[in-house]
């Protein structure tokens, strides 16, 4: 199988050679595989950087010792590589009564008013705030699911850090940006966990399986409002995004195609964590989609879409642009699309073609990719040789500040890649992330234990303890309230602020805390073990270990001089007992070079 793919890629290369288009002398544009004799430590480092999250010198050496085909195969066809990583350790926060979870707080309390119960909580028979327990429960789940999602991103980041199958996680991350669903709308970590596991399991398999899996995935169905797409009143959101973002790209279908396809998906829905089709709500009549007509259901529409030549081109180009470079020539797009199409949407042959190609190792493709934030953060930890993602700084806060918080993509289109990761503000934030690892903030408060600031409920906590009535305790801070409402505890169905407070309180009790160890970093040990004898060698070693592009000699010399000044000597022998702090300052300097953003 593997050889067949290789020769196919090679044949494609030959085809291109015969055509008028010529590739650059170093192989840019050439999908033919690189020769074994050209394989090197640097190329293995490039492969791990792109197909994974970067490697330590030891990992790179292991891949460099393999033949290029074997190195790439180990990454692409990794299901038999042992990878003993723990499953997500859930906090046990969900109970069946929560389902179906109301779309909003008004919906939750309205349901309780009508039926006497909501989310498994009964309305109190009499007294003030009869609906309070219902409102409490609603906010409890919002808070708990959010906190659990934050734990889940730690779990996933630790997988990225420790995995023996880096491409499996990298493709899962790619698909998370491609099928971009956000906890902000889904509000159920369990659905997102299922979805990520789908990406991990099928992300390097067959795209048709993956696409159908996603189309029937409760998170996606919830995210794109499948529930309101019913016979006689189709909602186009789902069908539009499938065509525009997931398979074909804009401009390759008509508005009518979307309306017709939407009918094929009518009745598709989810019940808790299960995909269901409601036959009563499914439109079973003939649809005309992309020139085909038939009594299509959703899967058949997906097959119609996959039969479009542009679909394979679109997907292959998106994968290429993610892993190789932002610019893709029409020729490459066509050739890579053909690889995907000819393999019936198996992803492995496409990935192997890309990662073995001369194009992938050409100058235009090396050290030119701006690392997306999650890759920057995980890659930094990996290159530091850490064995767990530090709790300080907080992984979610850091990645959010850098613009890529897991499980919270900004829109249904996911994250824009390339230059858009970098602005003046974000570039500084990237440097500050490094500072916060090497000099952990001693004022750090774990955001999953101290929610008060963002939600203005800390004060509610204190005032209730001081015996204030609920109306007074929940009064918005620093705002004048009319004397009427100041007098006594108001009569009301429920108090939203109190519910928010209680929701947090219960969530904090139930959701397990995130461990808050700082990075176990020993730079002295690192550079001494590498054999560095003086400051210049130490700087050269750190630059080579962490950066993917050359740094000019003058800059390295200035940093070495800085380290020498801090140490009081340029020789490392005898500095062991006070070497760590100056090395941390030095690493901060090195990783503050704009070049560190390139992989």
């Amino acid at each position: 199988m593997f050889l067949g793919i290789r020769s196919k890629a090679f044949a494609l290369g030959a085809l291109l050679a015969a055509s008028a288009a010529a590739w650059a002398a170093d192989g840019a544009g050439d999908l033919g595989p690189i020769a074994s004799r050209d394989w090197s430590y640097a190329k293995a480092a490039h492969l791990l950087e792109r197909a994974g999250f970067g490697g330590t010198p030891e990992e790179v050496a292991r891949y460099a010792a393999l033949a290029p085909e074997a190195a790439v195969r180990r990454l692409v066809r990794s299901k038999d590589v042992p990878n003993p990583l723990p499953a997500f350790d859930e906090s046990d926060i969900h109970d069946p009564g929560l389902e179906p979870f109301p779309v909003s707080r008004p919906a939750a309390t309205d349901r309780a008013k009508e039926t006497g119960e909501s989310m498994g909580v009964k309305v109190k028979p009499a007294g003030n705030r009869r609906l309070q327990p219902v409102a409490d429960k609603f906010f409890y789940w919002l808070r708990a699911s959010r906190l659990e999602t934050h734990r889940m991103s730690y779990w996933w980041a630790n997988r990225m850090l420790l995995t023996e199958r880096p491409l499996e996680e990298k493709m899962a991350l790619f698909w998370h940006g491609h099928f971009a669903n956000s906890e902000e709308k889904i509000r159920d970590y369990r659905k997102l966990l299922m979805q990520i596991r789908l990406f991990q399991e099928k992300g390097t398999g067959n795209f048709r399986d993956l696409m159908i899996g996603v189309a029937q995935d409760p998170a996606m169905l919830a995210f794109l409002d499948a529930g309101v797409n019913v016979k006689g009143a189709p909602n186009e959101n789902f069908a539009r995004e499938i065509m525009e973002l997931f398979t074909m790209g804009v401009g390759n279908y008509t508005e009518k195609d979307i309306r017709e396809a939407a009918r094929a998906f009518t009745g598709w829905n989810f019940k808790d964590l299960t995909f269901v089709i409601d036959p009563e709500r499914h439109d079973d009549s003939v649809k005309n989609v992309l020139g085909q007509s038939g009594n299509f259901d959703g899967v058949e529409v997906i097959d119609v879409i996959l039969a479009q030549p542009v679909t394979a081109d679109y997907l292959a180009a998106k994968i290429y642009r993610y892993f190789v470079r932002q610019e893709i020539t029409p020729e490459l797009r066509k050739q890579l699309g053909a690889v995907l199409r000819d393999s019936n949407y198996e992803l492995a042959p496409l990935l192997e073609t890309i990662f073995l190609s001369k194009d992938f190792y050409s100058a235009a493709a090396t050290g030119t990719r701006i690392k997306p934030p999650v890759e920057l953060v995980v890659g930094t930890y990996r290159k530091m040789g850490l064995k767990e993602v530090p709790g300080v700084p907080d992984f979610n806060d850091v990645t959010e500040a850098l613009g890529q918080k897991l499980f919270y993509p900004p829109t249904v289109a996911g994250w824009a890649n390339g230059k858009s990761w970098i602005t003046p503000g974000l570039l500084l934030t990237r440097g500050n992330f490094v500072y916060d690892i090497v000099f952990p903030d001693i004022n750090f408060l774990p955001p999953d234990r101290y929610p008060g600031g963002d939600y203005q409920i800390a004060i509610v906590n204190d005032k209730l303890a001081q015996g204030y009535d609920v109306t007074t305790a929940t009064k918005p801070d620093a705002k004048e309230v009319t004397s009427m409402s100041m007098q006594v505890d108001r009569d009301e169905d429920f108090n939203t602020r109190l519910a928010s407070y209680r929701g947090w309180q219960t969530a904090l009790q139930k959701v397990k805390p995130i461990p808050r160890a700082t990075a176990k970093l020993d730079l002295s040990e690192m550079v001494l073990a590498a054999g560095s004898r003086n400051t210049r060698e130490a700087v050269d070693y750190l630059v080579a270990r962490f950066l993917s592009v050359e740094v000019d000699g003058g800059t390295r010399q200035r940093i070495a001089e800085f380290l020498s000044r801090e140490l009081g000597t340029s020789e490392l022998a005898g500095t062991e007992t006070f070497l760590e702090e100056p090395l941390r300052l030095t690493l901060h300097l090195i990783l503050s070079l704009p070049e560190y953003q390139l992989g």
Partner: protein
């Protein structure tokens, strides 16, 4: 225009005080700039603030055509009853949440332009927004209209000429030559670093051997970050205002702080972010809330400009990537549509309504409004009428007739 005021931010003393002196001649008065059109625009100190309502704002429920029965026929459930509206004339009334816009309109400080859109509209958020960002629908234009405008009117590349407040850079400000200042939170717009590393940290953007285009891009951004971050943080720290911008101020107080600090920025770009206006389901309460935030923030901003004496120098332009379909959907929301209003706000704006409202009884085959005004006419209006650059044709490769909005 106030002549004294016009010169104010360009005096040597002011430049020193704002901490700009280190940036050399680029911050000096631009009397030597090439091209008469550029010179005229450059001599002005007028500021444009663009605010986008991302997600496709439902224009029909924003400025409601209550005088048209067709509106209520298409929207039996989510149409807003006349008695609830903030009426501005016999035909139109603002959404009940928009007291801020009603006041601006009645004070004659707001121009509404009807029926803005473009031919062969896209119903994709991303595509349509990209068309508005580039000002080049159905083309592959690489740079944004604000970026191209900056390159045209400021060939000397004044640092901090464009400020874009957002998590990521908008395509609208992407320029061939200018490097826009992009940040989100002014408090964190700075580099951490210990005293002894500062001299080196200040030179991280000077690699003479930069080998590839990505590397050069990063170095340019690093330079811009170094030049801008101190100014922005200082401006934000010093800025105090008694003006109420409402519950979600968007990013307009940040803009106000930079204007108050005398930044040489002429073009500000902000967004009501994250597709907020994409109201497919049960939209009424949510939509009204979003509009309240928008109207309060814009009204607060203009009031703040009055307070600091810059109201004559600032105009705000508000738009969204498309309107929404005329008939409501079955989920008490609305789907992606076409033509929409644009709003121009400022003391120097000639208030009132411009352009022709789209006809609710002559929808296209997708039940959408037909546009009556190419949105680039409004861009051309602010470029020529407000910013004083007479050659907007060069930016759009075609001539767009301007509206007489600016005195």
């Amino acid at each position: 225009m106030n002549k004294m005021n016009a010169n104010k931010i360009w005096t040597r003393r002011e430049i020193l005080r704002a901490g700009l002196a280190g940036f050399g001649t680029a911050a000096m008065p631009l009397v030597f700039s090439r091209g008469a059109a550029a010179a005229e625009a450059a001599a002005s100190n007028r500021i444009l603030v663009v605010l986008e309502m991302s997600g496709g704002n439902d224009g029909l429920n924003t400025l409601v055509p209550y005088g048209d029965d067709a509106y209520y026929r298409h929207r039996p459930h989510i149409g807003i009853r006349p008695e609830k509206l903030l009426k501005v004339d016999e035909h139109f009334g603002f959404n009940p949440g928009m007291a801020g816009f009603e006041r601006l309109y009645k004070d004659g400080k707001m121009a509404v332009v009807h029926g803005c859109g473009y031919a062969q509209p896209s119903f994709s958020h991303f595509t349509s927004m990209a068309y508005w960002h580039t000002g080049a629908p159905n083309s592959g234009e690489e740079y944004g209209w604000v970026g191209r405008l900056a390159d045209a009117i400021d060939p000397k590349l004044t640092p901090n000429f464009i400020v874009n407040i957002d998590e990521v850079q908008s395509l609208a400000v992407r320029a061939k030559d200018h490097v826009p200042v992009v940040f989100d939170d002014p408090n964190t717009f700075g580099r951490k670093g210990m005293y002894q590393t500062r001299p080196l940290l200040d030179h991280v953007d000077e690699n003479p051997d930069a080998a590839n285009a990505s590397q050069r891009y990063l170095l340019d951004v690093a330079k811009s970050a170094r030049e801008a971050s101190q100014l922005v943080r200082d401006a934000w720290t010093k800025y105090k205002t008694p003006v109420d911008y409402g519950i979600a101020a968007i990013d307009l107080p940040k803009v106000a702080s930079l204007i108050a600090a005398g930044m040489p920025t002429r073009l500000y770009y902000t967004s009501f972010r994250h597709n907020a206006f994409d109201t497919h389901v049960q939209q009424s309460d949510l939509h009204q809330r979003l509009l309240t935030y928008t109207a309060d923030a814009v009204a607060g901003f203009m009031k703040d400009m009055e307070r600091i004496g810059r109201a004559d120098d600032v105009a705000v332009m508000v738009f969204s990537e498309f309107g929404r379909r005329v008939p409501e959907n079955t989920s008490l929301g609305t789907d992606h549509g076409t033509a929409n209003h644009m709003y121009l706000i400022g003391r120097n704006v000639r208030g009132g309504q411009f352009g022709t409202p789209s006809n609710l009884s002559e929808l296209d085959e997708g039940d959408n409004l037909q546009f009556t005004t190419d949105f680039r006419r409004v861009y051309a209006t602010v470029i020529e009428g407000w910013l004083g650059y007479r050659d907007s044709q060069r930016l759009f490769s075609q001539r767009f007739e301007t509206f007489p909005v600016f005195a």
